[in-house]
Amino acid sequence: MRTGNLSLNIALTHLTGRLKPTITATLGVALGVAFYIAMTAMMEGFQGYFIQKIIDVSPHIEMKDEYRARPVQPLDHLYNRAEGAISLSSIKPKEEIRGIKNADRIVRTTSRMPGLKTAPTLEGQVVFRYGLKDLAATLVGIDPEREKQVTKLARDMVKGTLDDLQAYSGSVILGSELADELNADLGDRVTAISVSGTVKVLKVVGIFHTGIVDLDKTVSYALLKDAQILQNRPNVINAIRFSLDIPDNAVEIARQLENRFGYKTVSWQEANEGIISVFIVQDIVRYATSSAILLVACFGIFNIISTLINEKVRDIAILKSMGFTPADIQRVFLIQGMIIGLVGMILGWGLGYAMSRGLGAIRIDMEAIIATQYLFIVYDPIHYLTGGAACLLAAAFAAWMPARRAAALKPVDIIRGGAG
């Protein structure tokens, strides 16, 4: 095997002369790249799906009838707060009928903002009773027309439609898991008991399924008016839901709304902080594992090139005495590292793709956090490019260290010894 490039020819003869360790090192590199690709495909698939689901099924922003900081107390005004000698604790909140004051005005104002859609709701805890089952759930009172604009609830309906709420007074839509556990189906009449003690019989007119287990298990919808009656809070709105044309802007817009209206306003990112920080940990684990494999592969490359250099000191000496420069010598061994890296990368791409396909074909029937039958796999060229780039960089570095040593070898030292 001869090419027109002398350094490449020499590099190739060395590698083909030590085929077994070369193949081992190459497979190590390939495994690192493949593992990174498969892990990334799976984790980003899951994370992406999860975040998309969240963006779809829940409001991008929710304004609640709470304040982030406790209200300023009259005493605080009397004493300098920062260096005050008095600090208040155990402040007992007034038993007000909580709710967002001026909710109508906020809804009207925000409805006029560009890129923003608004839906007022009343959220409260209820217990559903059907047959022998008692199940706690959140009942969200909605205006179906507005809700349609704000969440994809209408799309997630598996039985009945959102409009059926309007058709019957005293009707309810249940999450699929909730309905299953109650053993209630379309047309059944379930009893709802609110915390205020009010009891109301509601007819099941719809069942939704989002795929997010938590929502399907604990959320139900009724007309706003019915919810207000059930909670004994006429005309009260305690949560305003917003959807955005650009969901990624939620953090910033939530902050603006909170500054403007005072009520605690939560973006979807904040609401899902817990799971998103789990994703970050997942990413760290993924990078750490891939890096560890790549590091081992690097040792493989370092090892074989160091071995080759030791075996070929005489070649290095004679080439240098002939007039090869240190850079020429370094190039020979760098090329070897890059060949291993390049072949490993391409094998890794193939293997990573195959592993991704394999993972995508495994049936898992998961019913935790989200309900799915298969893992979500994304095929993104970026994964292949970043994995490949990391692999080539690592290979270059692993080869560069011994190659530098080869370049610095003094031919005289070797020839003196070699002549004996």
């Binding site: 002398l6 004679i318 240098k320 031919p411 003196r416 070699g418 002549a419």
Partner: protein, 230 residues
């Protein structure tokens, strides 16, 4: 040869000391000249510094003191890369051990320096390698690997490789040291005929006075210094 032409290689008061814990003086105060077209032998007892001197003349090593000049040009100020280039264009080495590349055929081994020089085309390189190898009786072994040759044949390939870029001087360090008398004479004759043909000088280290007798001139070393040949 006109008077204005500088010697091919000249050393002025060259001393080489290895900076070890106990410094070792390899050669001391060597001043010599080698003219173009000369066949110079270097003799001396083992450990007298013959190889060390050859490495200095061949620009493989730099003197601790003094100056080595090639074609009248001082080499001290030149960078390592510039020395590499001088070696590539002007010098050819033959060592006691052949140092052939094991994975390259005989023909390819001879082509390596030409490839590095980058003047000839692939076809020209091939032709030149074959004619060089033919002239030293290896025409039948072009596609063999060094391991398939005898010691004498390998050493002849090494000579052919040293000649690849038409060097001005061949530096040989006991090129026949590993060879029997017959092969030794073959290599010796090749070197002699090169000088006789005109274009190349030879500096050859040997401990064999009989071989040294073939040279035009002898340099005798004892303890790193030039002394009169006994």
């Amino acid at each position: 040869m006109t008077a204005s032409r500088p010697p091919l290689i000249e050393t002025r008061e060259v001393t080489r000391i290895l900076p070890l814990e106990v410094p070792v003086t390899l050669v001391k105060d060597i001043s010599l000249t080698v003219q173009a077209g000369e066949f110079v032998s270097v003799t001396g007892p083992s450990g007298s510094g013959k190889s060390s001197l050859l490495y200095l003349l061949g620009l493989l090593d730099r003197p601790t003191k003094g100056e080595v000049l090639v074609n009248g040009q001082p080499t001290g100020p030149l960078s390592d890369v510039a020395l590499c280039d001088l070696r590539l264009r002007k010098l050819g080495f033959v060592f006691q051990f052949h140092f052939l590349l094991a994975e390259f055929t005989v023909r390819e081994n001879v082509m390596v320096p030409m490839h590095k020089l980058g003047v000839l085309s692939l076809r020209q390189r091939t032709e030149r390698a074959e004619s060089l190898l033919g002239s030293i009786g290896l025409a039948d072994h072009l596609d063999k690997y060094p391991s398939q040759l005898s010691g004498g044949q390998r050493q002849r390939v090494a000579v052919a490789r040293a000649l690849a870029n038409e060097p001005e001087v061949i530096l040989a360090d006991e090129p026949t040291g590993n060879l029997d008398t017959k092969n030794s004479e073959v290599v010796q004759d090749i070197l002699r005929s090169l000088v006789d043909a005109g274009n190349t000088s030879v500096i050859m280290v040997t401990h064999d006075p009989a071989l040294a007798a073939h040279a035009d001139r002898n340099i005798h070393l004892v303890d790193g210094r030039i002394v009169p040949t006994p």
